[in-house]
């Protein structure tokens, strides 16, 4: 099931999603993570971030809300303390990156240019731009466009952009993002939601709102991958993420147009799910005598035309 994207060979199209797998180190206590197609790291920023006050997570029907607040040790400590522990693991790492200004995004990427194990950057646009009154990068088309152009102008490695689903028209954001130079799109980040504790008559999460993830968001993610594929699928690869817990869910993303998928929340409730998904996709393809994985990418679009 090897796939090639941006001239990089990946063992398979099943990766772990940012913020749901740390930097891969904890998982070494569970299984051999070199079986994964890639690991996308927890978001990395220029300075260390301590994250939000508890309560940070709460379960919701078929899903959960989180407001971790992008807790991370910062890029310098990442390189010093964490990178040495992953640099010999036999799979690719993709660094998930965020900042509060365009310059921060660029600086974090530049700090990682020499780190060979990191094969690409995934820009997380769910962060507010402090220079632009706190508007979230991913929710303003011109902020997004400018950021992607700036990063692309400075860095050598492929830049993929993780889009926010909290926008009115994902097609427009996809198109502009690719025209600004993105080498690939990742859809979707969490959907904004909230939960109220009726006995305390107050929001459960310390930040009031949080990001919804898990099986509950699968149909939304599949729809957005589908629309992005229709818009830019002939130009860049699309990476599907959102609600994938079983191989059948991954297959929906792939048939909607995903060239690879990321497993997120399922790592929490079913830690071995990425491996089961790899097996499931492999079996599905073999049973149907499909010779190449790429033949099923976007397959549902082609069937629909017939």
């Amino acid at each position: 099931m090897e796939i090639t994207l941006w001239n990089i060979k990946f063992k398979n199209p099943v990766w772990t999603a940012s913020g749901t797998f740390g930097y891969g180190i904890e998982a070494l206590e569970l299984y051999d993570i070199s079986k994964l197609g890639a690991v996308v790291t927890k978001g990395i920023s220029l300075e260390p971030r301590r994250g939000n006050e508890p309560v940070r997570i709460v379960e919701t029907p078929c899903g959960m809300l989180n407001s971790i607040g992008l807790q991370n040790p910062g890029v310098e400590n990442f390189l010093k303390d964490i990178y040495p522990k992953i640099k010999d693991i036999d799979t690719h790492f993709i660094a998930n990156i965020f900042g509060e200004t365009e310059e921060e995004y660029v600086e974090v990427c530049l700090a990682l240019e020499e780190a060979e194990k990191i094969v690409a950057y995934e820009l997380n646009l769910s962060c507010p731009n402090v220079k632009k009154g706190g508007i979230v990068f991913g929710q303003d088309i011109s902020l997004m466009s400018s950021l992607v152009e700036k990063v692309k102008a400075k860095v050598k490695k492929p830049v993929i952009v993780k889009l926010s689903p909290n926008v009115s028209d994902i097609r427009e954001f996809s198109r502009v993002c690719v025209e600004s130079g993105a080498d690939g799109l990742v859809l979707i980040n969490t959907l904004m939601g909230m939960k109220i504790d009726i006995y305390k008559a107050k929001p459960v999460l310390s930040t009031v709102t949080g990001g919804l993830s898990g099986p509950a968001i699968l149909p939304v993610a599949v729809r957005m991958v589908w629309q992005a594929y229709e818009t830019v699928g002939d130009r860049v690869p699309i990476i599907g993420v959102g609600g994938i817990g079983k191989w059948e869910d991954a297959m929906e993303h792939i048939m909607a147009g995903a060239s690879a998928v990321q497993v997120g929340t399922a790592n929490f409730y079913d830690p071995f799910s990425p491996l089961k998904i790899i097996e499931g996709i492999d079996r599905f393809i073999k049973e149907r005598n499909i010779t190449q994985f790429t033949h099923i990418v976007g397959m549902a679009h082609r069937k629909r035309l017939k």
Binding site: F21, E26, R50, G51, P54, I57, E59, C62, I68, Y269
Partner: protein, 252 residues
């Protein structure tokens, strides 16, 4: 290594108004492999995505391959767990937690509030095995909630009972025992946050180790949902650096 296995339930018995005791057969030899304070994440094998997240429970006892849990039915997850019949399987991710109770002190007091007592029983057994002295203090709101009393008295000689309404044992809080203790070095505690807070504020002169609860999505260190504040004002993961912390490490 952390294992994720489907194992049969041996017993799942109601032992109090709201409390169940569950025994699992892991089929493995666990002797010496579980450290007191460690926990597991459990769910039924029902393929439904609701409830989604596994529930955390202390490993209250280990004998050969058998694991014992004690749990209170408080919501959806524990209600579903209480309906599992012997012979049926459940999924467990274990053992979890690197912060565990120390076993090297001679004079130990174990203070358990309510179902929190389940987080201390394995510790008591291991301390006794090593020839260290164990005094168990078990507190609950009222007599009917002392569901672990029999289990405790079978295991330990020195058991003190407290109830808030005085319906059994002494009237008061488990932490009231502090004023009566002499010659003890260490307190190990597990229970509701108000109990841990009062210990935190009054337990001078003792070394204090506390096992914490916190909402957990993964139990193995990757969601960063379960954090507690450390003395240097950063965050520690209850599931990974904990669940047991020495008082000096954390702010509550």
């Amino acid at each position: 290594m952390i294992k994720d296995v489907e194992v049969p339930v041996l017993t799942n018995t109601k032992i109090g108004t709201n409390t169940f005791k569950m025994e699992l057969d892991t089929g493995a030899d666990l002797s010496g492999k579980i450290k007191p304070g460690q926990f597991l994440m459990i769910r039924t094998i029902n393929p439904s995505d609701d409830p989604l997240i596994r529930r955390a429970f202390a490993i209250a006892d280990v004998e050969g391959g058998k694991i014992t849990l004690f749990y209170d039915v408080v919501g959806k997850g524990t209600k579903i767990l209480s309906l599992v019949k012997p012979g049926e399987k459940v999924k467990i991710l274990f053992p979890l937690g690197n912060g565990t109770f120390p076993l090297n002190y001679k004079e130990n007091v174990l203070i358990g509030g309510g179902i929190g007592m389940a987080g201390l029983t394995l510790l008591g057994k291991e301390l006794t095995k090593r020839g260290n002295k164990v005094t168990v203090v078990y507190g609950a709101k009222t007599k009917s909630m002392l569901s672990m009393e029999r289990f405790l008295k079978d295991l330990f000689k020195d058991v003190y009972i407290f109830t808030e309404d005085g319906s059994a044992g002494k009237k008061g809080y488990a932490t009231d025992i502090l004023s009566e203790l002499t010659g003890k070095e260490v307190i190990h505690a597990c229970g509701p946050i108000p109990m841990l807070k009062s210990l935190y504020n009054m337990g001078h002169g003792f070394k204090i180790f506390m096992s914490f609860e916190s909402p957990m999505a993964c139990g193995w260190g990757v969601c960063l949902g379960c954090v507690i504040k450390s003395k240097d004002n950063s965050f520690l993961r209850v599931c990974k650096e904990g669940p047991v912390f020495e008082k000096e490490q954390v702010i509550i």
